[in-house]
């Protein structure tokens, strides 16, 4: 019994740390806000914009994902696997670098406007609500596509075979197989994207702004940096927390499990796809063009200037790398004990999901309020960024780790217990080797996220402490676009490099 309690100490510490961080900042924010009375009409329109842009972004992403996922599921072509793998990339793509790419394509002097001008049509601006939504679709279309594609692949091929043998026309296949699958997949995809877009900051910071395209996150930042109105920032932070909690509650109610019964994993049959290929081909080409060209354009423009980047950029790069590594270590130190405790103790998983209720700017505001009476908050820019990045990554790491831990405990807990394996020995010889891959994968995601994140640091930085994303943002603001492209190239390369390094390490450490 004493052993069992002792083995829970690391998880309890991790849970306490997260609870202190999330609830502590929430308390600080609540006290400082002193009610929601301080909110102006401008703030209310920020709340409204946050909600409708998130809904529209999610809707558009899902709507585009359905034909794209269908095309990917029923066609085979060279590069298909690579394309599907690349659909996972936006998760590790630094937002600020991708925004730079979108500006290069859709901005005032981008290729889309060149084309419109040549055709004699009016040009469009990427700044404003539609720019924010465009960027959100860019980031979330791949996520939605992967979820829907997964749904298509989860329809047992036996059902498809039955449909083929009954000579179902396309309409019947849709009605009996595809619609039920979409009904169970799309609400989940919609909500996942809706949640991400609710806390969008970097996109709104760069492409939004103004009375009609300000999210709550951005409004917190503006109340902070421009008005230095901490009470209003705190009130907005409370609103943001309320929105997140409401959305999480709704997603718990709505999530539906698909029910197709078990299949025998027979290979899928492709014979049911319509003969005419061009709609699918068009769909896949358009999506690839939309998702790949922005990044390609930035990197082509930036690669030649890499050597000429000023030393301040290299200093910011070093800072960002340290930050990413330290934040990854902290993420794992919190997530691993929680994941190991989660299958038996519900509180561990609940504690790990706490950061989902707080966005980066909410945590930042709270920590600023807590720190201010004691120290000059700008001195804490890096530690605060580190802690907040690590905490925000914990829920994602847990979602990757917990199913694997469950499997590990199911397979080997009794054996380990019967051999009296416990503590560090068990961690070293059983837990870590068996979980090497998911640990490596979550470390990769955490490192890439922390490397590319432009969030809390914007509240705390005095211009002296710089991270690479912040330096890139300032270069863009100063219209030094060639240098910005080079910095973006560097940032993209390092984010992907860190992800791949950790992921490979996980594969390498896996003794199987």
């Amino acid at each position: 019994m004493a052993d069992r309690i002792r083995s829970l100490i690391p998880a309890a510490l991790a849970a306490a740390l997260l609870a202190a961080l999330v609830l502590g900042t929430l308390t600080a924010v609540t006290i400082r806000a002193g009610g929601l009375g301080g909110l102006s009409a401008r703030d209310l329109s920020a709340i409204w914009f946050t909600l409708w842009q998130a809904a529209l972004s999610a809707l558009l992403s899902c709507a585009c994902a359905v034909p794209l996922a269908r095309a990917l599921s029923r066609r085979r072509f060279p590069g298909r696997k690579l394309l599907i793998a690349l659909l996972g990339a936006p998760f590790i793509l630094p937002v600020i670098a991708a925004v730079m790419g979108l500006i290069a394509i859709f901005g005032r002097s981008g290729s889309v406007n060149d084309l419109l001008q040549w055709l004699g049509l009016p040009t469009l601006s990427i700044y404003g609500a539609h720019g924010v939504i465009l960027a959100h679709v860019f980031f979330n279309l791949p996520l939605a596509t992967r979820m829907v594609l997964h749904g298509w692949q989860a329809i047992p091929s036996e059902r498809m075979r039955l449909a083929a043998s009954l000579n179902f026309p396309a309409a019947s296949i849709r009605r009996h197989l595809e619609y039920p699958m979409l009904r169970s997949t799309l609400p989940g995809a919609f909500l996942a994207i809706f949640l991400v877009c609710l806390t969008s900051f970097a996109v709104a910071l760069t492409l939004g702004g103004g009375p009609r395209a300000t999210t709550v996150e951005l409004a917190i930042y503006q109340a902070f940096r421009f008005d230095f109105d901490l009470a209003r920032a705190a009130a907005l932070a409370l609103v943001q927390v309320a929105i997140c909690i409401a959305a999480l509650l709704v997603s718990r109610v709505i999530s539906v499990a698909p029910n197709f019964g078990a299949g025998l994993d027979r290979p899928s049959i492709l014979g049911l796809a319509p003969r005419t290929i061009w709609p699918d081909a068009l769909c896949i080409s358009a999506a690839s063009l939309f998702l790949l060209t922005p990044i390609a354009v930035v990197m082509m423009r930036g690669v030649s200037g890499l050597a000429g980047l000023p030393t301040t950029i290299w200093q910011a790069t070093t800072t960002s790398l340290w930050l990413a590594l330290a934040s990854t270590a902290l993420t794992l130190a919190i997530a691993l004990p929680l994941a190991l405790a989660a299958p038996r103790h519900r509180w561990a998983e609940a504690a790990g999901m706490l950061p989902l209720t707080a966005s980066a700017l909410v945590t930042g505001t709270g920590l600023f309020l807590i720190a201010r009476p004691y120290v000059n908050p700008t001195q804490l820019a890096l530690p605060v960024t580190l802690i907040s990045n690590a905490a925000l990554c914990v829920p994602f790491a847990l979602r990757i780790l917990i199913p694997q831990v469950r499997g590990l405990q199911m397979d080997y807990d009794r054996l380990a217990a019967s051999l009296d394996l416990h503590g560090i020995t068990r961690l070293r010889y059983v837990t870590v080797p068996r979980l090497a891959r998911p640990i490596g994968f979550s470390a990769g995601l955490a490192a890439a996220f922390s490397m590319g994140d432009l969030g809390v640091i914007t509240l705390f930085s005095d211009g002296q402490t710089q991270t690479l994303p912040l330096a890139l943002y300032q270069l863009m603001g100063a219209y030094r676009l060639d240098q910005a492209a080079s910095a973006a190239t560097l940032l993209i390369t390092l984010s992907f490099g860190l992800f791949m390094a950790f992921d490979r390490m996980g594969h390498y450490a896996d003794p199987r």
């Binding site: 019994m1 052993d3 397979d411 080997y412 009794r414 054996l415 217990a417 019967s418 051999l419 009296d420 394996l421 416990h422 020995t425 010889y429 059983v430 080797p433 068996r434 896996d510 003794p511 199987r512």
Partner: protein, 231 residues
């Protein structure tokens, strides 16, 4: 002597009672219909299931609340007896030292156990590279290294083919007799019980009955067991 003293095991609405003593060095089988609680009983002896009442003791010492790894016993499951990512030598080493801190003497002992079970050539291989029979022998070798007085077999060789299974049972019988182990074996196969265990515990109707001589139990089974054994 292994004693189950007025033991009551509960899982949801299932209850199993046992009041049993097993002599030191004896071999006992546990048979009974599926779901009667054979493995539940073994789990309780091994320490994976806390009894809701009663005591388990070994040589007069109460072990009811001991952690599984601290009990004076080794257990072999139907599968997952080896860690697939560790070598056979490491898997055996866990039987000597759960921290895998092995002295030179320990290494000699492991080499001897590998030789006894015909696995010398496989010391540095990992379990998935071995056949099912070789994996079973490695697991058995480890129980000998653990040097605990009780051996529990939970349908340990059920996944092997008939010839291999009886070969493994013979080997187990020889090794346990040499080491004077008290053996308790859950099995589906009455022939295994007859060949390997002089006495058998029948588990039926929520009760683990005290051991009876295997031959007479199988020759004239009580009604609840007769249905399970067939004609």
């Amino acid at each position: 002597m292994l004693t189950l003293d007025n033991l009551i095991l509960r899982q949801n609405d299932f209850t199993l009672r046992a009041n049993i003593s097993l002599a030191h060095g004896s071999s006992t089988a546990i048979i009974g219909p599926s779901g009667a609680g054979k493995s539940t009983l073994l789990s309780a002896i091994a320490g994976f299931l806390a009894p809701s009442a009663g005591r388990i003791s070994w040589q007069g010492q109460d072990i009811t609340t001991c952690a599984p790894g601290k009990r004076p016993l080794s257990i072999l499951f139907q599968d997952q007896n080896l860690f697939p990512h560790l070598t056979i030598a490491q898997n055996l080493g866990l039987g000597l030292s759960p921290r895998l801190r092995l002295s030179d003497k320990d290494r000699d002992t492991i080499a001897q156990a590998l030789a006894d079970t015909g696995l010398t050539a496989y010391a540095q291989r990992k379990p998935p590279q071995l056949s099912g029979g070789q994996q079973s022998r490695a697991a058995l070798a480890r129980t000998l290294l653990r040097n605990k007085p009780i051996l529990l077999l939970d349908e340990a060789f059920a996944a092997l083919g008939p010839a291999l299974k009886s070969e493994m049972l013979d080997l187990t019988g020889k090794l346990t007799t040499d080491a004077k182990l008290t053996t308790v074996m859950v099995t589906h196969d009455p022939d295994d019980a007859a060949a390997f265990c002089p006495n058998t515990i029948a588990v039926t109707d929520g009760v683990a009955h005290p051991p009876c001589p295997t031959q007479s139990l199988l020759a004239s089974p009580p009604p609840a067991l007769r249905a399970y054994l067939g004609a």
